[in-house]
């Protein structure tokens, strides 16, 4: 397991947040959410950001995933600043580099499970290219559905699936784009502990087998402790870096 750290020594940090400030406007008042947060994420690392509700952990994840723009501070990917890129490029980065998994799964209810899994590729390719490579891409999707254990449910609508199945589908959707970083926002937050455990197991498997960098946000210390490394956020500031993650340490 030492290999990733060797690489990180020679190369720039995989994903890095530099002194991020973000505040939201609520009427007249400015509500600060993040106050100068620095985070480094190494390649192939399973990092969890833990904190209470309102600590700014989701916002941090959104900023890292280019869903939002910081007021102050920078986001760097592989030694390139990415937060100030034009919108088109940011859209493309979101599609190619980041995979998102949300607490409420956020599948598109009108599409079948297979179509939901394929949606990042539909967005990536133009209609002609997509149609040309349709069977190939479909095969990929089926393959990934198999990995998450959903290959028997491909024609179903999300409303016909259980919570665990929906979250697996969301992970499959995130994976099909072959992302460098998987951003998971409370992936188990809406699931019972057993299903949540299954999901965590899946994430671990992906992290280990595919060297996928995973950044997980959670409020649950038990879940957070399953990660390699924990960053604790409180009131918009980093409390402690490198808190022992029991699994690996």
């Amino acid at each position: 397991m030492s290999q990733p750290s060797v690489i990180s020594m020679n190369e720039p940090v995989h994903l890095r947040a530099k002194a991020l400030d973000k505040s939201y406007r609520k009427g007249e008042h400015k509500v600060p959410v993040l106050r100068g947060v620095d985070v480094k994420v190494n390649r192939g690392e399973f990092l969890s950001i833990v904190g209470q509700s309102g600590s700014g952990k989701s916002t941090l994840m959104h900023l890292l995933g280019l869903l939002d723009v910081p007021d102050v501070g920078e986001v760097w990917l592989e030694g390139t600043r990415i937060d100030n890129l034009p919108e088109r490029t940011r859209d493309e980065l979101r599609n190619n580099v980041f995979g998102f998994v949300f607490q409420f799964y956020h599948l598109l209810p009108e599409l079948s499970l297979l179509e939901n899994i394929l949606s990042p590729l539909m967005i990536r390719y133009s209609i002609w290219e997509y149609l040309r490579r349709k069977s190939e891409l479909k095969e990929q999707a089926v393959e990934i559905a198999k990995q998450v254990g959903l290959d028997h449910r491909l024609r179903h609508r999300p409303s016909e699936l259980s919570g665990g199945e929906m979250q697996r589908a969301a992970i499959a959707r995130a994976l099909i784009a072959r992302p460098n970083v998987l951003l998971a926002d409370e992936p188990t937050g809406n699931l019972d502990s057993r299903t949540g455990g299954d999901i965590m197991e899946l994430l671990h498997k992906l992290n280990e087998e595919q060297q996928l960098t995973i950044l997980m946000v959670t409020h649950d210390d038990n879940i957070a402790r399953q990660a390699e490394r924990i960053v604790r956020l409180s009131e918009g500031r980093i409390q402690s870096l490198n808190e022992a993650a029991q699994g690996v340490a």
């Binding site: 956020h106 539909m122 997509y130």
Partner: protein, 589 residues
Amino acid sequence: MYKFLIANRYLRTRLIALASIISVTLGVATMIVVNSVMSGFSSQMKDRIHAILADVMIETTNTDGTPDPRQLMADVERLVGAEVEFMTPTVEIYGMISFDWGGQTVYRPVTLIGIDPNGKNHVSPFAGHMMSRQKIILDDELIRGRLRDPNEPLDWELTDDARATRKDWIEFENFRDQFDNQYGNFESPVSAPPELLSGVEAAPAIEPVSSFSLADPFDDGSSPEIQQVSGSSVDGSQENDSTANGSSANGSSISHERHERLDGTGGIQSFRDPFESTRIAEQINPMDPLPARIYVGAGLVSFPYKDKATGKTKMIYMVKPGQDVTLTTIKTGKPEPASFKATVVDFFKSGMSEYDSNLVFCNLEQLQLARGMLFSPDPSRPNEGLDWRDGAVTSLQLKLKNYNSAGDVVRKLRSGLSPHTGTFQVLTWEQKQGPLLEAVAMESAILNVLLFLIITVAGFGILAIFFMIVVEKTRDIGILKALGASSRGVMFIFLSYGLSLGIVGSGVGVVLGLLFVRYINQVEAFLSWFTGRKVFDETIYYFREIPTLVSPMMVFWVALGAIVIAVLASVLPARRAARLHPVQALRYE
């Protein structure tokens, strides 16, 4: 790719949006139906107007006309000869028609138009509107087939039917005259004032019984020769009667009464008088029609009659082709009435009630003769060798080679023909019926604006429902953006959604509208049956069926307009969707 897939799924799962485009559909369908019917009406109306009027008309301001048609035609030839295919003269004058019906005399004001049938045939498709060339259909029942081929050139010949009618009518008139005479005698001489007034008191002994066969030549009263006889007899020369008949016994009051009736009509008789004896020697068959022949507008002599027993409405004709009627008009120069008898050859039904209840077409030379615009070269044969070119005409009708040049022709003629004196008025048929055609065009324009407003209202419906859908789909929009969809892509989803709705809506509307137009008469029949009241009364509109004319361009523009409105209505919601912030959209629960 995702844009089409998602727009397609929204289209299939959001039925409320389909409901919102029903108004687009209905608006499109209504616009197509209304435009088709309006243009059907207006093209029929134009056909009808054009059947009576020529492309361009040159009219004298004065009703006396221009005395030198040769010069006028030469001028026209010189000015615009290259554009003109044919020209024909007419005389137009106000007049009155009178005929007997149901024991009383009916008078109607008319516009008398003297035409040359051959020329008229060349300048406007008038012949096809003759009743003898049309089928008569009442309540889908063929009452009478065509008597003549509709494409036969116009002439003044009677049809066989009209001849038969004429024979019956003359016999009936004879009989009636005799009966009246007998009846009048039995009553008392005092009760028959017309006879006394007209100076027939000079009549010799009355021998009603013997008069049946003998009276015939007098009583037909329809050939001009007889008129002359009658004219002379009233003048007091009783001998003429007897010489003419070679029989002395029949100088009866039958003929006298007849004479007296005919007398009033003999406006052109006076100068013929001296010759009548020779004329009578070469007596023509009394069944032959008079030299003056007319086409009468059907509306002038008919009226709809609803049979209470059957509930069916049929047209009652007070005169039939083959009968004679009296026409009264004015002479040229001085305001003096001129009357003459004419045989009705045919009725015409152009479908324009303005024409059908007003116009009487007469042979040109006879009208000129009656009005004193033309004098016979040989007074002994007043109806032979007549040439309208020697008399005066009031207008020239021109048929152009290409109607598009009409404006140019009119301009040239206006400046070329007596530009300063204003003797002539030059108008195209559209200008002559300008107010009517403009009114129709205006009506159609206003209807189009109103109906398009309806589609616009439907557009606001789409706008509202789209906003609703955007709000409902806020989270999905956030997901798509998180997955890397661009703002333009999201906007495109909703624009193409609107476009598809517009295409579906207006497509269904076009199909509905065209089907409605196609089966409009069946729809009308159903509505009539359903409401128990005739929705489209053919006796009012002169149409058996509702006329429609579908213009592909109109359908195209209506459909395109509706689609554009649907797309425009989706622009605002689509922009709103595109501008949604992904984080806020994802938070939205």
